[in-house]
Amino acid sequence: MFSLFPVNDYALIAVILGMPLLGAFVNGIWGKRLGDAAVKLMALTAMAVSFLAALVAFVMLADAVGAEKNEHVKLTWMAWEWMHTSGGYGGSSIPIDVKFSIDALSGVMMLIITGVGFLIHLYASSYMEGDPGYARFFAYLNLFVFSMLVLVLADNLPLLFVGWEGVGLCSYLLIGFWYENAANAAAGKKAFIANRIGDFGLLCGMFLLAHYTDSLDWNGIAHGARNLILPGEAFRVYVWPLGNGQYTGLLHFLQPAHPLTVSAATAVGLALLLGCTGKSAQIPLYVWLPDAMAGPTPVSALIHAATMVTAGIYLICRLSFVFVLSPFVMMVIAIVGASTALLAATIAVVQNDIKKVLAYSTVSQLGFMFLGVGVGAFTAGFFHVFTHAFFKACLFLGAGSVIHAMHARIHDDVDAQDIRKMGGLRKWLPWTHITFAAATAAIIGLPFTSGFFSKDEILYRAFVDHTVSPVTAAHSFVPPGWIGPLLFWIAVLAATLTSFYMCRVYILTFWGDFKGWTVGRPSLLATQEAEHGGHDDHGHHHDDLTTPGYPPHESAWQMTVPLMVLGLFSLFAGFLNPGFHLLKPENKPMDHWLEPVFKEASEHAVLFGHGNDEAWAEHMEWPLAACGFLAFAIGSALAYYVYVRKNGEPTKRLAEAAPGLYQLVLDKWRVDELYDATVLAAVDSLADTSAVVDRTIVDGILARLTSMIVAASGTVLRALQTGVVQVYAATMVVGIAFIAWFFAAPHASYTLTDSGNDDYVVTAAPGVGYGYRWDSDGDGTPDKPSFGADSTLKLHLAPGKDVTVNLEVKNAFGLVKKAAIHVARPNAPVSQL
């Protein structure tokens, strides 16, 4: 195999990348004409081939890793040289190539993207059935997979950015897929703009990295990363005043007494972090993700849960060796992650839209991942990406199946997603129920499911790990000791809320009695409904609300099979990396597998708090794991008590007791309103000012005045256009006469040049048949009696003297023109300083 695809020219990547692109191309261009069956075939084949190629590549990578003990093995493929850039600190030219590589980290991501992607494509082929935009949907979805693969397989930062923008674009297109509804289009725009803010940070980080590390590919950045923490002024970034400028005049009050500087590593880290918060929906840019649920449910599963939103964590893992150089940035990442996890979890508790709950749950879980990578436990964070991809995709697809069933009954987009209208669905949707239960068990951390292992590892690491700077200078930042326990308790609280709200969704959806009989249409009794059997009125979506509908029904096999596969992985994928130090590293395959990737990061920084005390860390393991278990137990038991035993009574009482707080949380803490009032209002007022300037100055003066001048001249000149050919001819005759007179008369024009050395030269202008007669002393008598061909006259003048020269020009018609030329020489300066 390696003879066909050598490690350094691994062209199989072209197949992995090319198939989704081909699918997007074919379905995008010819999809309408091909028909739905062919579109489905193309999209699914593209994904299946891509997944198989990815599997082969992964196996070969494992093979190569086995041969090279503990080395960071990469399968690389150089498509073409793209461009070079300069501006690096060392002054050399920085190559930017279209080069892809598969290593342990991107290999796992690649498998998730193509594997989960294929399952979701399969699911969508049934879910989207009958939609007029069927071909468009699959074209976008395939294009998304291509972009995501470019993102993870890119071997340098600019190429990653190409994929980064590509997934952003596809996300925008798919959120606004049903663009006839203005709210969906607005959600798409919101996602795009929030991501744009993050992209600004990523670009800044990229520029700084190119400057300080003199490179943009992963190996080069790793090699030059030490530059970021070199001492010296050249390696510090001036935050205030910006770029060490000077504020003078009116702005002088902005000038600080001491400039505020940060190390290059911190600046790079914060800039990249902004990009990651945008893409991975963290505070402060998380607001777009809940709105992104406006897209079709398979999109929510693939893009806004399993793959794209983890790009930020992927980038942090990919550039782990840069992030660990700045303990401050690492601490910020951890704090951002923990606070996002808690904030999103509180909102998820009160939401009633099933997809909204899952969306906030995704934001919350992404917060856990940020917390994991933020404390330096990159493997733990990334492992949560891995397990989350399965259980969250399964949850979303299950929700899609539920919505599908509900929608067939209720025919209302909002009511079909409202968990208060559901209940008892396990009777009609057995497979959806069982897989949803499996995924819920994983996300709430039921022991020995995948989420249990990944989440507990993060919690444990949050308590015991923190990053310290590799340089031991006096000014280097050391995170305070209390930060670890604080993060831990925040995360435990968030985990408790997670198990509460996930059990709430599960119980309200699948247990109890179905509450949808009376929604939308007057109904017969439930028992009578059931007698009609499992038929539905799917094919003809009429809105005749007078006839009763049929009960909800299970989805087709294309939808249930992906659910089963994902459900199985949700339950058992955790055994790829069971936590606990009881096990030897060899028994933690994921840890072992990713070790070479994060080796540089762990070399750069000391990860353990408490003086690197391994024994203390091991000692803490069981108490911390017990806290994680308690979070699961308390949260789910509470949900059971509230929603099964008391049938939701306590929550109603609580909402009535504190209506203000309830409404505040239901309105998502009014963060959107806060942004509206601050950032958006500022931008709006700037836009209003610009509009006034545009209307008065640009439109009023520049455009309207100019056009008025043109129109006025046109009105005047138009009067001359009589349309009578004789008038034009007469005008022409007058013009010709004028030109004839001009050429017939001689012209005595001249130029006077001071050629230095007291000499002056008078040159008469030339003309056809001209003769010249000069009177150089100005006495009225010509020097020569006849006209000659000599058109120049040289004069010698002493300082202070002046003379008038007479010039006569005679042309071929014998007409003579005279000119008197006064030549004066100024006095010499008095002093010759």
Binding site: R718, Q721, T722, G723, V724, V725, Q726, A729, A730, V733
Partner: protein
């Protein structure tokens, strides 16, 4: 032999007659004829100058037979013929459009 000046004076006279005719008459057919007269004035001048330039008896160096002026006149006659063909076609179209051949009534391009 008639001196060259006579030809030039005749040519100038014809040209001025043609020009005045073009400027003052409003009938398009007459206008066309005036153009013909102007062109023929040019032809006459060309032929006359050619004759003067290459006449051995006029005391100039004879440089072999050259008929540039005459040839030029022939080309102008050809161009005239084409011009009249197009011009008459335009006059016909104008008549169909406006029921007139007066040039001051053919002012579609006015203002």
């Amino acid at each position: 032999m008639i001196p060259a000046e006579s030809y030039v004076v005749l040519s100038a006279l014809l040209f001025v007659i043609g020009g005045i005719g073009f400027l003052v008459r409003r009938n398009v057919l007459v206008t066309l004829m005036s153009i013909e007269i102007m062109l023929n004035a040019a032809n006459l001048a060309l032929v006359a100058f050619n004759r003067v330039r290459f006449d051995p008896s006029a005391g100039q160096a004879f440089q072999g037979p050259s008929h540039t002026g005459q040839l030029f006149a022939f080309f102008i006659i050809g161009a005239e013929a084409a011009e009249v063909a197009v011009g008459l076609a335009i006059v016909l179209s104008l008549y169909r459009l406006r029921q007139t051949v007066r040039s001051d009534e053919a002012d579609l391009l006015r203002n």
